[in-house]
């Protein structure tokens, strides 16, 4: 179920959302758990946000305020989506898409926040060092960016705003980190970790740097990063220790990879990261900053 409505009067938004929920006569109880501000640079960004929200909603009933800076007049449109689960239960999320000049946008967003609930900001694209980024970040307890879009410098800029920061690209690395950690799960391999001096990564720059930063901070040692060619996706991570090679490599384009540990039979590993909307949903489950990520970022 979904309903749409447009207005240029933000004071009317609450009533419109109520109507979209079917009014209060039906006795519907709103169980919203958080506010999510999405900064979408353009119409494509809005579309991507709307799609992601459809997936995030069922596990995180929320109010989303999708904000786009424009040259034109202030405009808002309102929608509510409900999902029916087992035994006809419903959960609902609310969505307000608002366009306004960059100066007006923060105040528009502020007026639309549900009181007393935590605020998250999902900043799409490059993270600007401008007033808008600063003002929206200040509203939020946690800022979600994607270093694939804004680079590690953009993540660092977001961190300077003070709150906790999440990077979707870092989150997507989880299966890779897990597979790499798994290379050393046996008691004899734990010792091999002490002699690792370099890591070779075939993959995008931000991911390669995060991988190396993570290894440096987790092992507390100097580790050189070699990038073996450029590719759009992470393909391979290799490490040498005592003349032996430990590696994780993707098989073809699939979700599986192979782990190679000297002395053992090669074994399969899952390298698929969940869809972006699930990564986003995960980041909405925590408020505090992720120490491990921050340390990896600092060492990247």
């Amino acid at each position: 179920m979904s309903a749409n409505n447009e207005t240029s009067d933000l004071a009317a938004v609450e009533a419109m959302l109520r109507a979209a929920r079917g009014g209060d006569r039906t006795g519907s109880v709103r169980a919203i758990t958080l506010n999510l501000i999405v900064l979408a640079p353009d119409a494509d960004g809005v579309e991507a946000a709307v799609q992601a929200l459809e997936h995030v909603g069922p596990s995180h009933p929320l109010r989303a305020i999708v904000a786009t800076p424009t040259e034109g007049e202030l405009r808002a449109s309102v929608a509510s989506s409900c999902w029916v689960g087992a035994s006809e239960r419903q959960v609902c999320s609310e969505r307000v898409v608002v366009e306004a000049g960059a100066k007006a946008l923060p105040s528009a967003v502020t007026s639309l926040l549900v009181p007393d609930l935590p605020v998250f900001l999902w900043w799409q694209g490059e993270f600007g060092d401008d007033g808008l980024a600063e003002q929206l970040s200040r509203l939020a307890s946690r800022v979600v960016v994607d270093s694939g879009e804004c680079g590690l410098d953009g993540v660092a800029a977001a961190r300077r705003m003070g709150g906790s920061v999440a990077d979707l690209a870092w989150a997507a690395l989880m299966p890779w980190r897990d597979a790499v950690a798994g290379l050393f799960d046996g008691p004899s391999e734990v010792k091999a970790l002490e002699r690792i001096q370099a890591v070779d990564v075939r993959g995008p720059e931000n991911e390669a740097r995060l991988m190396a930063g993570w290894l440096r901070s987790a092992l507390d040692s100097e580790i050189d990063l070699h990038r073996e060619g450029r590719s759009q996706h992470l393909e391979r991570v290799t490490m040498q220790s005592g003349g032996k090679e430990y590696l994780v490599e993707r098989r073809g384009r699939g979700r599986l990879g192979t782990a190679t540990v000297p002395g053992l039979v090669d074994y399969p590993v899952l390298l698929a990261s969940p869809p972006r909307s699930s990564l986003l949903a995960n980041e909405l489950s925590r408020l505090s900053s992720d120490r491990l990520f921050e340390q990896a970022l600092e060492a990247a």
């Binding site: 087992a86 035994s87 239960r89 039979v265």
Partner: protein, 505 residues
Amino acid sequence: MATTAKRPAPNPLRAGLRVGGASVPTVFVIYGASGDLSQRKLLPAIYNLAVRGLLPNRFAVIGYARSDMDNESFREFARAAVEKFSRTPVDDHLWQAFAQLLHYQSGSFDEEGFRVLGDRLEAIDAGHGTGGNRVYYLSTPASFFPVIVQAMGATRLNRPPGVARVVIEKPFGHDLVSARELADVVHRSFRENQIYRIDHYLGKETVQNIFAFRFANAIFEPVWNNTHVDHVQITVGESIGVEHRAAFYEETGVVRDIVQNHLLQVFSLVAMEPPAAFDADPIRDEKAKLLRATKPMTLENAVRGQYGDGYVAGEQAAAYLDEPNVPPDSNTPTYIAARLEIGNWRWAGTPFYIRAGKRLAKRVTEVAVQFKRPPHLPFPVDAVEQLEPNALVLRIQPDEGISLRFGAKSPTPTLALRTVNMDFLYGSAFLAEVPEAYETLILDAVRGDGTLFTRQDSVERSWEIVDPLLEQWRKGAPQVYPAGSWGPDLADELLSRDGRRWRRP
């Protein structure tokens, strides 16, 4: 006695990874791998855990039974089982990788067979880096448990180079004496903290929901005691009859089937003291303490019933005595109502009434906490005649939720107070796919998290609570109640003599 756990140096890269998953390399041994439980539950659960990325990277399964299979045919057997029973469809690509983890060894439950199994396990450790850590799952009829455990001791399968755990299914005996006998046998080969007893009536979600409700809210726990609570009612109602399991049920009856394990579990979660931490042993300590404070059941405080014919939800239902394979003079109870008393500071004087039965009006499990009336009602008598005392209902199934009953003024010109219910359904705040119970249990056994498993002290104490009644109920006959009702008249009398009545769930 068994191994001391060897703790290898931790892998520093593991920090922060696999929260909720397992990472310690492990071989999972299924005794009875060709059987029904293995096909229906274990193999599909292991497959789904693998697909969800929750099993250790270095993981292998070895099936053991008499059936003649090799690795290849066991993999085909497993694939057929997973295709039939998995909650998710089988992904061809992922299956190829998963199948590599599956191994099979054929043999009997004897030392000769287990020596061969031991050699296979060592070979798997060497090739797969599983480090000698083992989870042994006894998926066989309970009569084999002592045989298997004893043979494992004799062949030292209980002392692998790594950590060993053993998972057993209920029943854990049929009374206190047999429960102790079984435990004695198992304890000769495994320490208590290596034993994982499955009694999965309450899913992890539910247990956590009850804990979260009780211990994460400052407004409920202060009134959760005999000062404010008049009494508590726990209902475990089934609408089905014995179906085709009469032979089993004749041996069991409602007390062994539901009360000794399931109902006392719900009871202890609701009544226990807050644990110091949300960890296996603190939680199980508090549960055991509560059961120790609970007085054994007595004839005077209990009522038994057996269903007659009638209608359940519009369908005609036969009487228990007319079910196939039930002897015509059976006195097996299919219903119990009882008054439980807890001798501790929190609950002394506040009775817990429990009831459980087959062929009741509907399938429901709930806990209703009935609060005392306000000390004084400053309203005209006719304004409050419809006002019921506050009640808080924790519904466990079918729709898990919480409902609070309180008084409110009805919108009429005269002052009239009515009772209203405020309902919260867990499902309407959060929609998420809930994994199969066996997935959670297997994962917890591999991770070594015993929270959801039953410890021997609780097993024994719950037998002590029900044994006197079982003994006295061997004689005499239960009162017949119509199928589709809420039980026999005597159950109503049990409460009315205390000036109370059952709520209608």
